[in-house]
Symmetry: C2
Subunit: 253 residues, 2 copies
């Protein structure tokens, strides 16, 4: 039997890590790394730092796999994500077969919380449910970027007794979901919030949340959307990468 | 100047606490307690245990205030919550004035994450923005019951690239939000999931998540709704209180 721990490490601040995640790190023999893109070095460095800081009296090793790139030019976004996940599953499967001894435990350290806009749970479940590997697996939740954003802006996510939608930039392009006045938006590379500048909508935006590079901007979308766009693009230029999220809320009629 | 730290302590498992929350606890001179209802003793005991376990080389004191009851028979739910919050603000204001010396730091330990279906942020902001007290305040995020649920069932909250609504039992009674196939439901005292037993909907339900009393049930709503209802009511009877949450997802047509 081999054990896989999918460990949410929180979004940004290393202190977002939970005691449960620290205990999980201390069960790990091997840490699988699969970072990619322009933030790869930063993401890897954070994972190494968390292990160095929190794993006590235990030896562990890192195994790095190349993360297959998603075909970002693909016409069908869903299909391109499915293809990517099949490739990732093949990579994980090879790592489990070749880099773990029977009885060992591997950790996969996921930025934020593995439950939200992350495919690690789906990929490991697909491998485990095929059988053949004898895999036991657990999930440890982590602080998401949405929670970091709300905490840093000191706002509730929902209005009293009202719903909130967690959604993507791609889906937000179609407008707020019907009947929902509060949205938290992840994975928006297209400055989709700008579409709401003609409406009575407030925005709370943040980038590099919980890190020394953090930027926070809030206000009516009409008033701050240009400032957010300038900050986003200047920071992406300066840092080589951008990780941002926002909450938008319709004002009361 | 007085400092208020609104600290999310996670939902259930004491190990859901983050390093950031532990550091915040270690800045606290006084912990404000405001529990109520049948789970009051358990909630208070958990807060005391977290302080005992994590606050090092520092003296601190507990100050308990009676939490005003919400008028649960009120015809207008929103108005009854507003009334309750005004009363809570008065209680917090009195505690800040009478129980804190200038320069001291108070902690309010919130179950789950203060950003989600909790009024502490609104109440402290209302007091701070009135001025007069010289209050500085911060928010520390915590693991919500929704995250605990997803982790224990080992499921993603969203389908790939699709939105999720966080909502209440009360709002869910009107059906899934238009265009959204995944919902996470909190504050449902009425077994609202049962309304979906005639639809192609799956449910992942959990109670007392992350505690020794944890119960997890999943399946098609039609198949498991009676079992969930029986478990909920039997456990509430046995324990004197119930804290549960669930995710529901429409199957693909």
């Amino acid at each position: 039997m081999k054990t896989i721990l999918i460990i949410g490490i929180g979004a940004g601040d290393p202190d977002y890590i939970t005691m449960q995640a620290i205990k999980a790190l201390n069960r790990v023999d091997v840490v699988f790394l699969m970072d990619k893109g322009p933030a790869k070095q930063k993401l890897r460095a954070l994972r190494e730092e968390l292990c160095r800081r929190h794993i006590k009296d235990r030896s562990y090793r890192f195994v790095e796999a190349p993360s297959p790139p998603r075909d970002i030019g693909a016409a069908d976004y869903r299909a391109s994500v499915d293809d990517l996940n099949r490739e990732k599953q093949a990579v994980f499967e090879a790592m489990i077969a070749e880099e773990m001894k029977d009885g060992e435990t591997a950790g996969i350290l996921v930025w934020g919380d593995p439950m939200l806009y992350d495919s690690t749970i789906r990929n490991i479940e697909a491998i485990a449910s095929k059988g053949g590997h004898g895999i036991d697996w657990e999930v440890i939740p982590g602080i998401t970027a949405v929670q970091a954003l709300a905490a840093r802006h000191k706002i509730p996510l929902n209005r009293i007794a009202e719903p909130v939608a967690l959604t993507t930039g791609r889906r937000l392009a179609d407008g707020f979901p019907t009947g929902i006045d509060s949205v938290a938006v992840l994975l928006d590379g297209e400055d989709t919030y700008r579409r709401f500048a003609d409406q009575d909508v407030d925005i709370w935006w943040g980038a590099y949340l919980g890190t020394p590079d953090e930027i926070l901007i809030k206000g009516k979308v009409a008033d701050v959307s240009d400032e957010i766009r300038r900050s986003r693009h200047a920071a992406r230029e300066a840092n080589g990468w951008m990780m941002d999220t926002y909450v938008m809320r319709r004002r009361r009629g």
